[in-house]
């Protein structure tokens, strides 16, 4: 009697600090396709997972922000390389989640290209957004950008790969670390993307990916006092109001992207990096320079 081989299915777990733990809560929810068919059991993360992930992201911030801009660019490029190598797997997962083949291929290639795009910007956005400022006294006055710190991101629901990549890339390109809540309805390739991150040279903790319910976790992602910015990308007036109110508790930056079409190339720009940067202005005393006594 011959036996039929059983396919070994993947356990989808979460990604915190460069490791793949399960949720501390032990809960799960079921990811289904459009027809309601079972795809996988996903971790249903709790507020404590959010807390742990934010703590880990905070720990990783010092090292990541201290890397040279060029090195951050190299690492983003490396993520793209890894994604390119696993294209087929992502196309398959996107199709499982309901995309047709052409759309899936398009989303994956676009995601790779977007990583390359922000990789290139890593050591260039500073030059664009920084400035030397005219002042009326004998100071050299200049403004330069610095990363904000820990950013929490609620990834778009419908584009589970390109949406996550489009929000994550500018945040980490600018030297921040982040905690991402993956698409609740299409979480598969968000977790698989964590495997890509883990096999690139990205230090653990720079990107942390959770799965679970937006309604349950958003209050914690937006109210945690050790978070410096919140990024939300859905059209939901109640949720946006709550994010803004919670953010006001410790004056977090909020970035709300309601109308972005992530498949569109128009929605990639260094301004997304700028959204998560603080401007530091320095007054450096100097003698007046030149006959015009220009005070720069």
């Amino acid at each position: 009697m011959s036996t039929k081989r059983l396919t070994v299915l993947k356990t989808y777990k979460i990604y915190i600090g460069g490791q793949f733990p399960r949720t501390e809560s032990g809960r799960y929810y079921t990811a289904t396709n459009a027809k309601g068919e079972h795809l996988a059991n996903m971790c249903l993360c709790s507020r404590k997972d959010v807390r742990d992930a934010i703590g880990t992201a905070r720990g990783a911030f010092g090292g990541w922000s201290a890397r040279s801009a060029f090195n951050r660019g190299q690492i983003l490029y490396r993520i793209a390389e890894m994604l390119e190598g696993r294209k087929a797997q992502f196309i398959e997962e996107l199709m499982l989640q309901g995309s047709n083949k052409a759309a899936a291929e398009n989303e994956v290639t676009l995601s790779i290209d977007r990583l390359i795009y922000y990789s290139g910007w890593c050591d260039k956005y500073q030059q664009i957004f920084s400035s030397v400022n005219p002042v009326a006294s004998s100071h050299f006055n200049f403004s330069a950008l610095e990363p904000m710190g820990v950013v929490t991101i609620v990834a778009p629901q419908q584009y589970s790969l390109i949406g996550l990549v489009s929000l994550m890339s500018p945040v980490i390109a600018g030297g921040n670390t982040c905690v991402i809540l993956a698409s609740e309805v299409k979480p598969l390739c968000s977790v698989t993307f964590a495997e890509v991150l883990n096999s690139s040279d990205l230090p653990g903790g720079v990107v942390n990916i959770l799965t679970g319910k937006v309604s349950e976790l958003l209050p914690h992602l937006s109210s945690h006092m050790d978070v410096n910015a919140v990024c939300y990308s859905e059209t939901n007036a109640t949720a946006i109001k709550m994010v803004k109110e919670n953010a006001s508790l410790n004056v977090k930056r909020t970035a709300i992207y309601e109308n972005e079409k992530w498949m569109d190339e128009k929605n990639q720009s260094p301004y997304y990096i700028n959204d998560f940067q603080e401007v530091k202005t320095t007054w450096h005393p100097i003698e007046n320079i030149g006959g015009a006594k220009a005070g720069y």
Binding site: S223, H224, M225, D226, V227
Partner: protein
């Protein structure tokens, strides 16, 4: 007068049993009101410590201010138990703390290695006392201990105890350098019979510092000593306890091994520096419902 036992036959420790039992203490669920009380108690048991070559008068003054004003936003907080500094900083700390009731503990006896002569160790101790230290944290001679010269270790502790006068003496075993639980138990027995008021795990300069199993072995030594002699000895784990949750685990262990009589800062201390802020953050979390950030708490 108690008879002094033969330390070569101190009880042996079951390593697996001790580690298993210690891990059980970490699995209690402590919530809400109990948790808040536990956190406040732990806060009140801290010896806020700075023991660095780069300590300055300013740093010590600032630490003293921190000890008295842990987080003024939160009304009704206790203060820490003591400030722990080098002998040269005792005068500064004493003045800065004034009549706040916070004690000044000073390390002495050629801390942290203890590699010096007895004469110098006694003078080191007396200097700290003359500066106003309320408590002395001495280190034992680990080298002599390993050579089996238990009498030397015993006599040294007794000599320092004599030099302390009314100040309470904490004896640091430096368990990270002792190697086995058997030796920790033996060193605990020697220290207690020689006159220690506290036994303390570590200097904080050696890794591993305090661990729960080591502390458990020492707590059990204290319990046995109490049953034999009727004398209470205090305990101070030090080094590596930086999280509020871990501090609560220690309190659970303390309560279950020695009981309520030890559940205050006369009989139990945490030697720590960053633990205070983590406890403060947890207390604020309980009060506001929001996870806190270190950005909103003073460093020292």
């Amino acid at each position: 007068m108690n008879t002094i036992p033969d330390f070569t036959i101190s009880p042996r420790i079951d390593q697996v049993g001790v580690e298993e039992r210690a891990s059980r203490f970490t699995k209690r669920s402590i919530k809400n009101e109990t948790k808040i009380n536990g956190l406040k108690l732990a806060l009140n048991m801290i010896d806020l410590t700075t023991l660095e070559g780069k300590d300055t008068d300013g740093k010590v003054k600032q630490l003293c201010y921190k000890a008295m004003h842990l987080h003024d936003v939160y009304a009704g907080l206790p203060t820490v138990a003591a400030i722990c500094v080098y002998p040269s900083m005792v005068g500064v700390a004493k003045k800065a703390l004034g009549d706040s009731g916070i004690k000044v503990a000073s390390v002495a006896t050629a801390f942290p290695s203890g590699q010096s002569t007895r004469d110098i160790k006694i003078r080191d101790t007396k200097f700290a006392i003359s500066q106003g230290a309320d408590e002395i944290d001495m280190v034992i001679s680990r080298g002599k201990f390993h050579q089996g010269e238990y009498n030397f270790v015993f006599d040294e502790i007794a000599a320092i105890k004599e030099a302390c006068g009314n100040a309470r003496l904490k004896v640091i075993l430096e368990t990270g350098e002792l190697g086995t639980y058997d030796k920790v138990r033996k060193a605990s027995d020697i220290a207690m019979y020689a006159g220690a008021d506290f036994i303390k795990t570590s200097t904080g300069k050696i890794s591993p510092a305090a661990t729960m199993p080591v502390t458990l072995v020492m707590l059990e030594a204290i319990r046995d000593f109490y049953y034999k002699t009727g004398k209470k000895i205090a305990m101070k784990p030090a080094g590596g306890i930086s999280k509020a949750k871990l501090a609560l685990h220690y309190l659970v262990m303390l309560n279950e091994v020695l009981g309520e009589g030890w559940m205050n800062n006369e009989w139990f201390r945490f030697g720590a520096s960053s633990l205070a802020n983590d406890i403060l953050m947890q207390l604020m979390k309980q009060r506001t419902g929001l996870y806190q950030s270190g950005d909103y708490f003073s460093n020292d």
